[in-house]
Assembly symmetry: C2
Homo-oligomer: 586 residues x 2
């Protein structure tokens, strides 16, 4: 071992000990007759002192050559510091060096290895191994490890078995595009990388594994939006002989355990809210319930006053923003511009101040009296001092626009406190959603989700109305998990494939093995999958998943550090019997 | 929950309780007035009794229809059995059913769901979900889970951090062929699936992560030998500021912990044996040391007696097989045939019996006197009653042939006791091996392995002689892990790439990021990787890794259950800008 202790370990108790430390030079301070080095490793920083009087001359001279990020090994005695640093674990002591061994030199890093670095995103990604030396990044990775280990131990104690499912599988249409892997042994054929182990975990239930989990990489070849990765990690779970509430209870337990263990907070029972209620109250199926500003449906108090913008639209809806009646005209104009941006796409925004003195002032004073606006206040729950913001349009799109505005207002008012955890189950999702473009139904969750048993008959007559035993776990406005009770009956599964537009031949080719399995005694089962990257980020009080991934890819799916993907050589293509289409034909 | 208890839980303590169980019908016995069902789930089997007198009539009649592997839910009272079954956990009780709910029917499975099934390998793979219902397969998967969880907790307690490295990376030449993944966003370019996270874990050390591990899938597109999988799982580890012995100590601790925890056996300190010694004593770098039959080099006692087969060969070597002097002529001829098979490739086998009465009898009595053979016995350590088996030829191939024979004799004599664990570190591997075909050196471990510091000078003059700080962990004759101290110096790494025949441009293109990283303060580091599939199999007292993988592929890399790989549709190929070469051009 090149060290007796790490750089975060020593304190007054060790004063007088001879120790050997190894690590990186965080910084040096040279006063001529004395030179201090902050020596850093994963565990902390320890101050080393080279002293022209007490340190051997050769060592003292060699220490002059030390630069930032040099890797060194030093030996010396732990001594008490004169001026202690209460902000450091090891702030009471320093090491008076008597030996120094430079294990490696270092060129000047392209950005500073500090908590607040001067490096831009791209540079830090290219030199990710240096970025990882920074405490915030390192802490995120350590945190991720703690969370995954806690998940594994919790689930294992609850009798779940982690089973590894294969990565080289078959293309399955789960809504996204598969990454494929050409086979050399079976030329012209391809494996696919899993978008999730969905069918395998169901087969494990058919196989009697009873309770399964896996922390597993999944792959989606999608055009990347910000903060989406082509490979991501899932906590994948499935259980047999359970009903929806059993699953919610089990994973509510897990989530509560994590929040309690990490933050010492008991968040109590999670509210459970049907999808329709979430849409009505928050315009969103993953509402952030750390704050109010619930939706008020205002058709009754807003229509029929001669204001065409409201009268001609399907749906008028508003929120009361607490304490925002004092917004200036400029601030309000800013909000109007904000909702008109193409990302939101609203046509406009009506506002009404419920002033602290009880008076009203609105952008539609021409059409609405104080009495009318008082009715608005009653509907939205606005109090004196609040600002009402109202939108109108088609129901779905208006809800979605106002939901975005609600989140934006919460950001501006700092209501999204990262130290508060507000979990929520959203249940009773629709089974299907109609796709205008392809003029057919898509599975809202996936094709294996079971309809609510009492609504199976509706499948034949009004499939769009059928609700599913499907649920999402929402934490602070982010979907961190989702799942469903699955179909375990071959005939019903066949009916679903029909509804989703699979021909019997397509269903057989892609899912024949699952349909076969359902013939041999498939038990009732269901499950859930958590997005680990997001879960960890949110538990860590942040939202950017990239910060919790050791080696993330950029928005075009490229690893800037290793420079992948790249071209491969002709021999390899030949072995795979593949030819790359010339660019001009593409 | 569809059950109050599982099928392995109930005993006399629960007699009188009303319970609900769910599971699969293992078998039924019908005596007309009584019908017994063995109800099975992951946890065990519980006997259910339907009684024409005590069970409601409708339920009793419905029970008549139950077939093997039906999925049922029953309610009833726990009663004490008249004839108890001491071989079952639940053998003291049975459930007198009063409700029966058939959750799913089942077609007759294609093979019996019994510990000893009538299903052949291929059929069981095709219906792996049924195979998993069999206790031996299920127990293997549960065992695998226990082992991996124990590994994770042990390493985490020792300050290792599990860090997920990416799966979509860049082709690296680690001896085997990469699986590649065409990129849609960067047409004509490819990711590669990792053969191991080698470079990433080294970068994590450069990044100061200090102690890393990961249980991770790796991929090799090789022509599959028996019991090799294109995707396999590795326990991948790396440490900073350590020397070879630190790594051996750490992972000896892990392995000892596993054996102790699983089998209650303390295997003590692991012997450490240099590669050369292992080759000399066992003709093999992964010797099974559960038994003796060590090699005796016999040139001194075998040559010069006029027996051309020995006189004309480089190397004569033998073993003494305990108690085998009574082998018949036919048995010995069988052995001779066995070594002549092309898999072994020996030209012949000389034998000499050291009879129990002290006399000798050999296949070369014409050339060797009793006194000569007595010298053989002294050299090989043969005792009266033993059989000496001697081979001659070129040193390397003869060692390898005799090593195979030694293992075969151990099998026949049942010396390979699966309940005995004999771990062994093999150390000081050669750094390089000469490849006749390509007329150049290959890295014996991989290109990042550090030469022994005191032998670095030899690199320039006699590279074949240089030993590496590389080590394998061998358990019962199987390599279960291997690793090395890595190069952390850019110049030395460049020298290694030169030696291995990389041009500077190739080295830069493939490993530029690693060479870059070595500029910014790379610490001394080293690591190890365990083959989890094999480790689990051997700890489980078996050797077939396929039996410990939930969904293995067959020898041609095909998943028989889901039928992968398969062709993909033209649109998908087009998106990837790929064309499949017509067959006749291949």
């Amino acid at each position: 071992m090149l060290r007796t202790n790490n750089c975060g370990a020593l304190g007054l108790a060790e004063v007088g000990q001879q120790v050997t430390l190894a690590g990186w030079v965080q910084k040096t301070r040279n006063k001529g007759f004395m030179l201090w080095v902050d020596l850093r490793d994963r565990y902390g920083i320890t101050q080393i002192i080279f002293d022209s009087e007490r340190t051997p001359k050769a060592v003292f001279e060699q220490a002059q050559s030390l630069g930032r990020e040099f890797v060194i090994q030093i030996r010396g005695e732990v001594i008490e510091r004169e001026s202690k640093n209460p902000n450091m674990n090891t702030g009471d002591i320093e090491i008076l060096a008597d030996q120094l061994h430079i294990l490696n030199t270092a060129s000047t890093p392209p950005f500073t290895i500090e908590d607040k670095t001067d490096g831009g995103e791209e540079l830090r990604m290219q030199y990710r191994y240096l970025d990882i030396r920074r405490k915030p990044v390192r802490d995120n990775l350590l945190f991720r490890h703690q969370v995954t280990l806690a998940v594994r131990n919790y689930l294992s104690k609850a009798n779940f078995v982690e089973v590894e499912t294969p990565y080289l599988i078959k293309s399955t249409p789960e809504g996204a595009r598969d990454f494929v892997v050409p086979s050399r042994m079976h030329k012209g054929e391809f494996y696919a990388l899993p978008q999730s182990p969905q069918t395998f975990k169901q087969l494990l239930m058919v196989g009697g594994m009873d309770k399964y989990f896996q922390i597993v990489k999944c792959f989606r070849d999608e055009d990347l939006r910000a903060d989406r990765q082509p490979e991501f990690t899932q906590i994948d779970c499935e259980l047999t002989f359970v009903e929806q509430d059993d699953i919610l209870d089990q994973f509510e337990g897990l989530t509560r355990h994590l929040i309690k263990n990490i933050h010492g907070v008991d968040v109590g029972e999670f509210p459970r809210m049907p999808y329709e209620e979430a849409m009505r109250r928050f315009g969103n199926d993953k509402p952030d319930i750390r704050f109010g500003m619930e939706f008020a449906e205002m058709n009754a108090v807003a229509k029929g006053k001669g204001f065409g913008v409201f009268d001609n639209q399907e749906f008028v809806v508003g929120i009361a923003v607490p304490g925002a009646a004092e917004y200036t005209r400029k601030q309000i104009d800013g909000l109007i511009d904000w909702v008109k941006r193409p990302q939101i796409g609203a046509l406009g925004l009506v506002w009404a101040k419920y002033n602290a003195d009880g008076s009203f002032k609105s952008s539609v004073d021409k059409f609405f009296t104080a009495e009318d606006l008082s009715a608005w206040a009653e509907t939205t729950g606005a109090q004196p001092g609040d600002l009402m913001l109202v939108m109108a349009g088609a129901k779905d799109s208006t809800r979605s626009q106002l939901s975005a505005l609600r989140m934006e207002m919460a950001e501006r008012l700092e209501l999204r406190d990262p130290t508060v955890f507000a979990p929520l189950w959203v249940t009773d999702f629709p089974l299907l959603e109609w796709d205008e473009e392809s003029q057919r139904y898509h599975a809202m969750h996936h094709p294996f989700t079971a309809p609510k048993p009492e609504e199976i008959e509706l499948l034949a007559t009004d499939p769009g109305k059928v609700k599913a035993n499907a649920y999402d776990l929402v934490l602070n406005g982010n979907e961190i998990g989702g799942g469903s009770i699955r179909i375990h009956d071959g005939d019903l599964q066949q009916k679903m494939f029909d509804l989703l537009g699979f021909t019997p031949e397509e269903a057989q080719a892609q899912f024949g093995f699952l349909m076969d399995a359902f013939q041999y005694g498939a038990p009732p089962h269901g499950g859930i999958a958590f997005g680990l990257d997001r879960l960890v980020a949110i538990l860590g009080g942040q939202e950017t998943i990239r910060d919790f991934i050791a080696f993330p890819k950029n928005n075009s799916g490229r690893d800037l550090m290793i420079d992948a993907p790249t071209s491969i050589d002709a021999g390899q293509l030949d072995e795979l019997a593949l030819v790359i289409q010339p660019k001009d034909e593409v």
